[in-house]
Symmetry: C2
Subunit: 516 residues, 2 copies
Amino acid sequence: MSPTFQSQNARTGEILPGEFHEATPHQIDAALRAAVDAFRTFRQTSADKRAQFLERIAAGVEAVAEDLIELADQETALGRPRLPGELARACNGARMFAAMVREGSWVDARIDTALPDRKPAPKPDIRLMHRPVGPVVVFGASNFPFAISVIGSDTVAALAVGCPVVVKAHPAHPHTCERLAAIVKDAARESGLPDGVFTMVHGRSHEVGTALVAHPATEAVAFTGSLRGGRALFDVASKRERPVPVYAEMGSLNPVFLLPRALVARGEQIAEGFVASLTLGTGQFCTNPAMVLAPHGASLDFFLSEAGRRVAAVAPASMLHRGIHQAYEQGVNRIQALQDVLVTARAAGADQSKCQASAVLFETDSETYFKHPEVLREEVFGPSSVVLRCTGQADMIRFAESMDGSLSATLHGTPEDLAEFSELIEVLQTKVGRLVINGYPTGLEVCPSLHHGGPYPATTHSHFTSIGLSAFLRFVRPLCFQDVPEMLLPEELRDSNPRGIWRLVNGVRTQSAVAS
Amino acid sequence: MSPTFQSQNARTGEILPGEFHEATPHQIDAALRAAVDAFRTFRQTSADKRAQFLERIAAGVEAVAEDLIELADQETALGRPRLPGELARACNGARMFAAMVREGSWVDARIDTALPDRKPAPKPDIRLMHRPVGPVVVFGASNFPFAISVIGSDTVAALAVGCPVVVKAHPAHPHTCERLAAIVKDAARESGLPDGVFTMVHGRSHEVGTALVAHPATEAVAFTGSLRGGRALFDVASKRERPVPVYAEMGSLNPVFLLPRALVARGEQIAEGFVASLTLGTGQFCTNPAMVLAPHGASLDFFLSEAGRRVAAVAPASMLHRGIHQAYEQGVNRIQALQDVLVTARAAGADQSKCQASAVLFETDSETYFKHPEVLREEVFGPSSVVLRCTGQADMIRFAESMDGSLSATLHGTPEDLAEFSELIEVLQTKVGRLVINGYPTGLEVCPSLHHGGPYPATTHSHFTSIGLSAFLRFVRPLCFQDVPEMLLPEELRDSNPRGIWRLVNGVRTQSAVAS
């Protein structure tokens, strides 16, 4: 028998009944073999069938939403209204991809028709569209038990385009994962799809993750989590005889820049919004604003007192699990130990035995940052942020140029501020995946324009996003058809355009049939 | 002083006057620092300016086309009409990207407008477009001194989108590279662009390539060449503290399947076309058909005699350089040493001192292939191909399922053949980047629908192509703008759509302005 583990109530530490087995090498191999078998038919299923599959998942989840929310709340302590909102987002995500698949233009069809009489050589007929890559391994994240886990963006994006999925359940919420997996399996069966389109395995050990990534049938990997975890999987995949992409989203600092006029005019309002963003979900977001840069002076002092007052008043809350809580405490202690870093404010009353986090706000100056970049540039996952007193734009630019890749950067500024700090804004655009003006980095709007990615270490490949409509691009590759007769072409590439999709025909974007 | 090397006449081995220095670590660092500096302004240049730059490169090359062709012919022995054709293709490529940049829709602009009154939370304004990643390192290929070298697809695609380029000249045609680089530098100067947008360095040692890929400022790498070379660079990039993508195109077997009715009906014609494809450019194409699979029997015997007769009559020709010639001889010898592999035909008269290759055709059966896959699945770069006698479709499917990723697969079949072999065709689609029916894999049609890529080891990332309009995708990443005021947005994302490009606005594809 393989080793087992149990889940805990995230608030009380109480062991929940039931146990989970570490997946054995044999089970991992069986999951991927089943995925390979399923791929043979799944890649050829109709758009309608795949869309129905996704809609059945959404409906199945909604049908037992209350149970799922209660279960997830026990395992994650994320509470309400967060969990109902996240469940709705996950179901909306499945339906968004269902709609994308039904509409059909996602295949990026291109057609260049033949010119048999062209000199010196005839031009062949060339057509192109996206096809699924094959079995995808998805690692669920701890902090989104619905939206970045078993039924999250990675899974539904891969299923949408016809890739079978093997999910590695997150060991911090295995009961929630089990319930969700059962719903996906039911939906597959009801849709007449082979079982191998979806398999879930459990595991807390590195061996399980490594074996999934190293398996020769794995074609791509999606991961959301820590830099250490993501990089380890990336390294396994890169060293394979046949390397495969690991699309890891590993969080970032998400710096917030307070520009002088906005700081004077709206210091209190920004402090309120900032602290709300920092402490939302006990700060357990990849887009959590872990650093603030602002010009030193009286306005910043006022901001610090306003933000500090609010941070001090944040009620302690249990973090997702013991490991995250320990890492948070260690991260906070590392910062606190630095010379010339002050604790502006720290919430009181955290019960360590319940893995509760105290929100904390630090302050220091940019000079200190450049003395200890190795500590201060590291993301502390949780409700902690460091405010850097800056001397001016040059100082902020120096920070921006030296910073690691980040999912986002945010600026608060009046129109005059933004015009004055245009050079800073330019530099930030080379470092981040998303630029936010007068808002906050948390709270992703899931839509075609969303990009949740960025240069390393925010992600392992800045071309791709893990959230939003474009998330499917990680799981497709173009397939080119040269002089392939109409009867052998996929519907999307036939002259008549039976699906009425947008295509690029001889360089022109159109929904029309190919003129014969 | 760094070590130097000289170039040779590829036909005679004669040393050409002039010498080239291995780039020193200092020169490599200087090239990438200059690229970083240039990126600051280059990424913000207008589409028109970048398009003019590319057009100046094309015009500059055409102005001295005869000189360049003569020089390249000395260094590569590729001769006429190949070199004039390739030069024209490279210039067309530069102009194709200039046109793409001028038209502007390549940025894949997406706009989702705000809904400030939405409940429970307001919807922000989100906009997205592609932006350049930064400095790109391009490794020129030996076999395309114009179209996959200094002014090749990698370079012009990167420059088109605003990425500075550092080219590593191919040491087998350094004089040609120098002439081309001077033209690109002149074009940059005439276009008012900083020198750092384009730098070329020389080197024969692994150290130069490694240093370019390992340099912290390098954001992406493009390479066309051997599996060994490409994988080595991929490994260097994957082990960096901050990994970057290496887009390596490393060639493949490009199997050709002869289906029974077509083999009966058109055996001689296919033999003629096949041998022409096999021996074109002395077989030095990534898409060279290195394996043929066909049902055993009298029709295949006839095909073999027809193809063999033609192969035997191919005039020996000098290969690109000594290293490639040696590798070819070794590869041919490895195959010839296998038991149960016969030499069907071999061209005579090759002068080894001139690095001339003899075209060679082998035959064996599929059983032998499965006994020695490690030898027979390896691409032999040059005019060598192996014909496998198969027992039927199941045998071909077994081969297809076991084969490595390939740039292409080709089938010759009547409509009845293609219907009968539909399962084989399905399997091949999971293995290749391009499916060719009743044609030949060599001779790429450069157009929006072309995909020159495929699963590993054909390339290191099957989502991307190194040739064709989509080649630029390797050098861009999406940048998302949340609630960014109109005045700070790039033109492509402004409400009025001043460039008139295609955009996805609130889910609808349109060239219209955003309704206010």
